[in-house]
């Protein structure tokens, strides 16, 4: 609801951060690729219902982001700044995939324009927003790791 009702109203130059990418990235680094993919599927499905673009594209691109963010190699990194960095990666993967899928489905969108006018600014906006949530996600992550380590 926030993503479709509130954030677009405060978009800067048509760019609004994507909270769903933040959610998927956070979930994936907390609980792994499988859980991240599950959240991506559910949230992507809901977003696709509200989008005017061909159905399924948002789900697929979010799924890609969820799978990548939950990789064990990424989850091993112990840093409070992991979340913004992962969100940057997740945004690039999500928007990159979405742009490609849009093009493949025949949407008349220029790849260069898409990259420069939407993909990069959106990824940057998402990462900046992720910085605000980084301490919270880090604390949550430590708690999850402690819980997982407890026999």
């Amino acid at each position: 609801m926030l993503q479709t009702c509130l954030l677009p109203r405060y978009a800067v130059e048509g760019i609004a951060p994507n909270l769903v990418v933040l959610l998927v990235a956070a979930w994936a680094i907390l609980y792994g690729s499988r859980e991240g993919a599950l959240v991506a599927l559910l949230s992507g499905f809901l977003l696709d219902l509200l989008s005017g673009a061909p159905f399924g594209l948002l789900t697929l691109s979010l799924l890609g982001a969820g799978l990548v963010c939950g990789l064990e190699e990424i989850r091993q990194v112990q840093s409070a700044l992991l979340f913004p960095v992962v969100v940057l990666g997740a945004s690039l993967v999500h928007d990159g995939l979405y742009l490609l899928l849009l093009r493949l489905s025949g949407w008349p969108i220029s790849l260069m324009d898409g990259l420069l006018l939407v993909l990069l600014p959106t990824s940057l906006a998402n990462s900046l927003l992720a910085l605000l949530f980084a301490p919270l996600v880090h604390r949550w992550r430590v708690a999850v790791q402690v819980e997982e380590a407890t026999p």
């Binding site: 479709t4 677009p8 048509g14 025949g106 949407w107």
Partner: protein
């Protein structure tokens, strides 16, 4: 000698004497100085005592009415909250009224259109595509392809209709294209959306007069939109002698980001029924 008994006798004698003197003075009408003396001595004490008693009384009363006061305080707080909410509601109603007045004026100027006001309930979640979700659907007589406008100009058209809500493809989406003409020179072209919510008018033949500030409106060609709906204003002209056509950047007066109320023209049937944006 019994001192206690004697002291009582002396006091009794003094009091009796005072009473007798007082009576005599009263009889002869000389009580004024006595009253003055008494007043000077007693009034300040009485005054202070009265204040003390009143203060204590008030405090005691306040204590006894504490619960009542607490209830009154809560009641007042509730009233203040309600009034604040009411103020916000009134402010909101004022803004909405302004918007509706704008739409109504537009409706009065264009009586040929059967327009249905709809509220914008959502935007597309992606920054790549530009759609709106409105709160009117098939049950309100909305059909695919119907033009959507605001008092400031063309907004887009309906691309998906559900029972209670519909999706609107915005003019500024990359897949949107509208046959347009310049109001002044009548030169025609096609207005296309671009990423970044900009508009560009293409395919304007060379030699046609084109300048900044020209008003761009729908031409009605192709039958997708009614004629003479305002699209925007030319802000930049791109003309190159070696090209076949001229181009112009167009700025719409519609703030697509903050649209709250739009109008769907219900009595216009687009000729081209297949309006899937991808296939255009």
């Amino acid at each position: 000698m019994n001192w206690g008994k004697d002291r009582s006798t002396i006091v009794l004698l003094i009091v009796s004497l005072l009473l007798a003197v007082t009576l005599i003075l009263r009889q002869v009408g000389q009580m004024g100085p006595v009253y003055d003396l008494v007043g000077r001595l007693v009034v300040p004490v009485q005054y202070a005592f009265t204040r003390l008693v009143t203060g204590v009384g008030q405090r005691f009363e306040a204590l006894t009415h504490m619960q009542e006061l607490e209830a009154q305080k809560r009641e007042l707080e509730d009233t203040v909250s309600q009034l604040m909410l009411r103020t916000i509601e009134l402010e909101e109603a004022k803004i909405e009224l302004e918007m509706l007045r704008e739409q109504l004026e537009f409706k009065e100027v264009n009586p040929e259109f059967d327009m249905l006001a709809s509220e914008v309930i959502g935007h597309d979640p992606s920054n790549f595509v530009q759609f709106l979700v409105i709160d009117r659907g098939a049950q309100d007589g909305i059909e695919k392809g119907m033009p959507v406008i605001s008092a400031r100009g063309l907004v887009g058209r309906i691309t998906e209709v559900n029972n209670q809500w519909s999706k609107v493809l915005l003019l500024v989406d990359a897949s949107s294209s509208v046959n347009a003409m310049l109001q002044r020179s009548r030169a025609t072209g096609i207005v296309q959306g671009r990423l970044g919510r900009t508009l560009i008018m293409q395919y304007i033949p060379q030699g046609e007069s084109l300048q900044e500030g020209d008003i761009v409106m729908t031409s009605g060609l192709g039958g997708n939109f009614p004629k003479h709906l305002v699209i925007g204003q030319v802000t930049e002209v791109r003309q190159n002698d070696v090209d076949m056509f001229q181009e112009a950047e167009v700025r719409s007066a519609v703030d697509f980001q903050r649209l709250e109320i739009v109008m769907v023209i219900r009595n216009f049937e687009p000729i081209e029924l297949d309006i899937d944006p991808v296939q255009e």
